[in-house]
């Protein structure tokens, strides 16, 4: 490692605040981008799944009614 200790790494000379702020913001932006993209995909997949189940149930009950008439 370039730094002698973990404390040095945190301090970064006198630039620790700036460096860690920039990296923290980057981590946050990437994490939020990932979570929101993934969240949208999961939500859509779940909605499609529910629709499919509803349609299946609808088919079944239609068939069921058909048996009795």
């Amino acid at each position: 490692m370039y730094f002698d200790s973990f404390g040095d790494l945190l301090q970064m000379g006198k630039h620790g605040f700036y460096v860690w702020t920039a990296y923290g913001a980057t981590g946050l932006v990437l994490l939020i981008s990932w979570l929101s993209a993934r969240g949208a995909f999961v939500k859509t997949a779940q909605r499609l799944q529910q629709q499919a189940e509803l349609a299946q149930r609808g088919d079944q009950s239609a068939q069921h009614r058909g048996d009795h008439t």
Binding site: K14, S33, S36, F41
Partner: protein
Amino acid sequence: MLSASLKRLWHKLGSPRWFFALTESWVKVAGWSALVLLVWGTIWGLGFAPADYQQGNSFRIMYVHVPAAMLAQSLYIGMGVAGFIGLVWRMKLTDVAISACLPLGMVITALALFSGSVWGRPTWGSWWEWDGRTVSTLVLFFLYVGIYALREAIADQELRARASALIAMVGTINIPIIKYSVEWWNTLHQPASFGLTQKPAMPSEMWLPLLVMVLGFYAFAGFIVLVRMRTEILNRELGARWVRDWVQVRSER
């Protein structure tokens, strides 16, 4: 024969269904590459690269600032190209691509501005400078915000696609302005740290981590854009037979 098969490929590329099937494995590759590269590059850049003899440790901000700024422009170019193709060939997928690039491009541009500001404070002595590059990047951010707002405002899908394609295309004029701003105007901003053709002006132990970070950011963008495009395709093709089949296969797994 080549032109015929190229034409076929072109038409396939425009088909949401084909794209959806094709990119299933790409998503995983892009996602995992992004994770590995970003973790590797961050550890390297933060802990192992030597400090700059002039800027000290603040130069480590470069490892997030430069990739963010590159990506901010690339995503916009991607939207411009998609917009052009969409307007000329009326391909369905291009609007899906624009909608997928937009949110990431917007936050990445904000990140480029923010990280630049945090780097500017210890280096230039101020959080913000009205110089060519920061202003043209700010314009880029407003272009993203503008297209985003426009898309929210227009309900008609066809009109929305054409309006955003047009603005995306016209806005690409700003990209060469960002690129050459450091040469055209007197500026505090340092020139490119990195290029495809010239040798970097820093030693390899400094630019190699940057290369890893740039690759990581692009892999991440590929991952996010693909996930968003696939989501949008599912939403647009709700009733299609192949979507129902996909749902069934997925639920059985």
